[in-house]
Subunit: 110 residues, 2 copies
DNA sequence: CGAAGTTACGTCCTACGTAACGATT
DNA sequence: AATCGTTACGTAGGACGTAACTTCG
């Protein structure tokens, strides 16, 4: 254990899924408000991190490989969970503010 | 939509869970191979991002708040999913290498 | 007085944008 | 010739470490 898997972040997974949805790196970059070079670099880094060939050039266009398609649902599931986590945080925050409205100066209530 | 929720990354959630597990910022920092200042800063940033008071000082020690305890399972679930994603990637990579062993020069097989 | 946390400062690494090149249709 | 992708370069933001201060037990 040398420490080679340095934790892939959510951002990188979002990039990969964006390419899958958009159908090309160019379109995905526009959707993400990024430039092609930045996006392509992150994708390559993701492939190196995971040790998986996720994308390949087919007819001048970048499309998902076999393993890319296989991995896609896992990436989607992770992003969905991340989204749910953010939603949960927002609900807790709203809940907290509502309680503060009821007991402005008394945190020991109930 | 001004763009205030700039995507909280997995790393930050790991820090929060580490504090919950270790029982203090100091212990968590040691477990994460980090220093207290770095860890504390990330925790504060997380609270600001989420708009949630996750931690508080009680008796000279930093412990989880009420909402902190409520949010904890969501953070754990997210990290578990992230872990599963990594595992899936590793399995796909192993699978791919096994196939390559069987068909070294022929990717069109089957 | 000791321990834990916070704040302030400086440094390093990562991510991004711009520009130029190559490949494909 | 046009489009997509890649490579090279430079810059900006985020994360971390070190040091000094404050607070609680």
């Amino acid at each position: 254990m040398i420490g080679l898997e340095a934790t892939v972040e959510l951002r990188t997974f979002r990039y990969f899924v964006a390419v899958a949805d958009a159908g090309s790196v160019n379109a995905a970059a526009q959707a993400l408000h990024l430039t092609q070079p930045s996006l392509a670099r992150q994708l390559h880094r993701l492939e190196r991190r995971l040790g998986l060939p996720l994308l390949e050039l087919r007819g001048g266009r970048t499309v998902l490989t076999e393993v890319g398609h296989q991995f896609l649902p896992y990436a989607r599931a992770l992003l969905a969970t991340a989204d749910a986590t953010q939603v949960a945080a927002r609900l807790l925050a709203a809940n907290l503010r509502a309680e503060e409205q009821l007991t402005p100066e008394d945190e020991t209530a109930a």
